[in-house]
């Protein structure tokens, strides 16, 4: 029998400030790890620049004959560019990493850290988003220069627009994180990611404003979380959404952001039960 002095140094109780510091540091590191890859940065920027330019050319010729569904060319330009910037947040670094780590079993190493899994992924997503927003804004400035400037935001809806743009982050995070968690069930992520991207592209109005969709689809889209990921902030920017409609749209955004967060929590606890870490 050995004689042991009990509990060498009792661990200090956990504090909120430790957690905040942890997540802030994670966000910073996520940003830093993206900055480590200069070449992929350039290529990513080029690719999205081409995407935006071709979209703008397309819409300019489509609207050459005059406004459609209430969109004239300057409005459409502003709509598309805003939708592009907010749509580039939380694009795929988050779920790509998550899915990979889950499939490879490296998620085990995420779980031996003294941080909540979901908050950690959000923190990282915020770090990635700084980078994503940075690149998107550069692309948008270039595109605006080529297409003869961009109209300023509508004065009346600016505060709501800012709020709505900020809500895009938790919203997109919710969807991206939830689809990342699906890997626990599907094993293969490529299909899930493609489906997610297709859903967002169609129902968020990032490519084609929802006003161009058939009536029934537009009605469905209004209540889905996707509309808040591009359409709502973009319409607020152009001033096409105002009054009580504007407030409702932002409330729907906020409600979905909260709902997705808690849905993800539920899904995580189901996933953790069936979590089988591969290898090792």
């Amino acid at each position: 029998m050995t004689f042991v002095t009990a509990g060498a140094v009792p661990l200090p109780a956990d504090t909120r400030s430790r957690r905040i510091r942890a997540y802030r540091s994670m966000a910073r590191m996520a940003l830093k790890s993206l900055l480590a890859y200069q070449t992929s940065f350039l290529f990513g920027m080029l690719a999205s620049a081409f995407g935006v330019l071709s979209m703008l050319y397309l819409w300019r010729s489509a609207l050459a004959a005059g406004p459609r569904q209430g969109f004239d060319w300057p409005q459409m330009k502003a709509y598309l560019l805003v939708a592009f910037v907010v749509g580039s947040l939380v694009s795929s670094y988050t779920d790509y990493r998550m899915a990979n780590r889950i499939q490879q079993g490296d998620v085990a190493m995420d779980l031996v850290r003294p941080v909540d899994y979901q908050w950690s992924r959000l923190a990282e997503s915020v770090g990635f988003a700084v980078y994503e927003a940075g690149t998107a804004i550069v692309v948008v400035l270039a595109a605006a220069a080529i297409f003869g400037g961009m109209p300023p935001p509508d004065r009346d809806t600016v505060p709501l627009f800012i709020l709505s743009a900020l809500l895009v982050l938790p919203l997109r995070f919710g969807i991206v994180y939830l689809s990342g968690l699906l890997v626990f069930w599907t094993q293969n992520y490529v299909g899930v990611q493609a489906a997610r991207i297709a859903l967002i592209t169609l129902f968020s109005g990032a490519l084609v404003p929802l006003a161009f969709l058939p009536e029934w689809m537009r009605v469905i889209a209004t209540y889905l979380p996707f509309v808040g990921m591009a359409s709502t902030p973009a319409l607020l920017y152009t001033g096409s959404l105002d009054g009580s409609d504007a407030t409702t749209a932002v409330l729907v955004q906020a409600a979905w952001a909260v709902a997705l967060w808690w849905l993800a929590r539920l899904m995580w606890s189901a996933a953790a039960r069936k979590l089988t870490v591969h290898g090792g």
């Binding site: 029998m1 050995t2 004689f3 042991v4 002095t5 009990a6 509990g7 060498a8 661990l11 956990d14 504090t15 400030s17 430790r18 510091r21 942890a22 802030r24 540091s25 994670m26 590191m29 830093k32 790890s33 480590a36 890859y37 079993g105 490296d106 085990a108 190493m109 779980l111 031996v112 850290r113 003294p114 941080v115 909540d116 953790a272 039960r273 069936k274 979590l275 089988t276 870490v277 290898g279 090792g280």
Partner: protein, 353 residues
């Protein structure tokens, strides 16, 4: 706060721990996948099958067993990564998978085949991130890092991006990452896998030092030399069950009755038969050279002195040595299935309080 307990404090308490994995039963190819979607069939695989274990504070336990025995699965349940299918786990008063975050503040985990480090960042950044995660103050971080640097030689590694580290360097950095917050309990799952002898030695002396400092260590390894000078207690598992739990020395004494003596002789022997005749029951073999001779015997029926006398009577001895039984031998027996638990459940075990 200087309390002295007559009985060791139990830090890890495991009872009836089980983990069953469900594997999809799927025919190969697309047809198999589609079929699986319609009628989902699973086969069950019991990785950990009712393990009982209790580890006292400050103990160093070797946790060994053949490939697929369930060692890593146990460690994953102890560290809160996996949820057990059944049974209880209590680590320092916490149920790891329920209080995962709190548990992670107290334990350090190294999986030799994985890394804690952020792949795209310099080691220093990873360590600073862990510093922030554990809420360590600047002074304490500096001190701990200096101490770790002392044993692990980290200074050269700090500015290197983790992706570019060699295996041995990565392992040193990973050990530092797992121990930065000075956990009271450390699980090391194959910390020396793939390392060269020099780095292995370094890791071993590092772990020895941890143990000397009073850290509770659970060490999983296939390199049994790792455990001989680190652990006094060994837990051997096979097919998810504990087949031995007790003192390292006494398992050797009980299960390795074989001793072996090697001789170097002054002149070549024409044959070994005459010596063999003097030592019934022993195995006498000539070495590659006829001046070398090895006698293997059961220490219960024969003594070293009798062996020596028999050889001396037939030849002139230049040099000799007795091979201490290696733990390898015991474990090899387990691996070969010679040391199964008795069917009535009477496992060969010395329970530690």
């Amino acid at each position: 706060m200087e309390m002295v307990h007559a009985r060791p404090v139990t830090l890890i308490q495991v009872a009836g721990l089980r983990k069953v994995f469900r594997k999809p039963e799927k025919a190969p190819g697309l047809r198999g996948s589609l079929r699986h979607l319609l009628q989902r069939r699973f086969s069950e695989h019991v990785a950990v099958d009712g393990i009982d274990l209790s580890v006292a504070q400050g103990e160093a336990v070797a946790y060994v067993g053949p490939n697929g025995a369930g060692k890593s699965t146990t460690v994953k349940m102890l560290s809160g990564i996996l949820v057990p299918t059944a049974g209880q786990v209590l680590v320092d008063g916490l149920v790891p998978y329920r209080a995962r975050v709190e548990n992670a503040r107290r334990v350090g985990v190294v999986f030799g085949q994985r890394t804690q480090l952020w792949w795209d960042l310099p080691v220093r950044d990873s360590l600073e991130l862990l510093r922030d995660m554990h809420g360590l103050g600047a002074a304490r971080y500096r001190e701990t890092l200096a101490r770790l640097d002392d044993v692990l030689g980290l200074a050269d590694l700090l500015p290197v991006v983790a992706r570019k580290l060699s295996l041995g360097q990565r392992m040193r950095a990973d050990l530092a990452a797992a121990l930065l917050h000075e956990p009271r309990i450390v699980y090391l799952d194959e910390p020396t896998i793939g390392l060269d002898i020099a780095v292995k030695d370094r890791v071993r002396s590092f772990v020895r030092r941890l143990v000397a400092d009073g850290t509770t260590v659970m060490l999983t390894t296939h390199d049994l030399a790792d455990i001989e000078d680190i652990c006094r207690r060994i837990v051997i598992i096979d097919a998810g069950r504990v087949v031995y739990d007790g003192d390292l020395q006494s398992v050797k004494d009980t299960h390795v009755r074989e001793r072996s003596m090697s001789f170097e002789l002054a002149a070549g022997l024409p044959g070994v038969d005459r010596i063999a005749a003097r030592l019934p029951g022993a195995q006498v073999r000539a070495g590659s050279d006829d001046r070398e001779l090895t006698v293997t015997f059961d220490r219960m029926t024969l003594g070293a002195r009798e062996v020596l006398a028999a050889v001396l009577a037939e030849a002139e001895i230049v040099d000799m040595h007795i091979d201490e039984p290696a733990i390898e031998t015991v474990v090899r027996k387990v691996y070969a299935g010679q040391l199964r638990p008795e069917p009535d459940g009477g496992v060969d075990r010395e329970t530690v309080s």
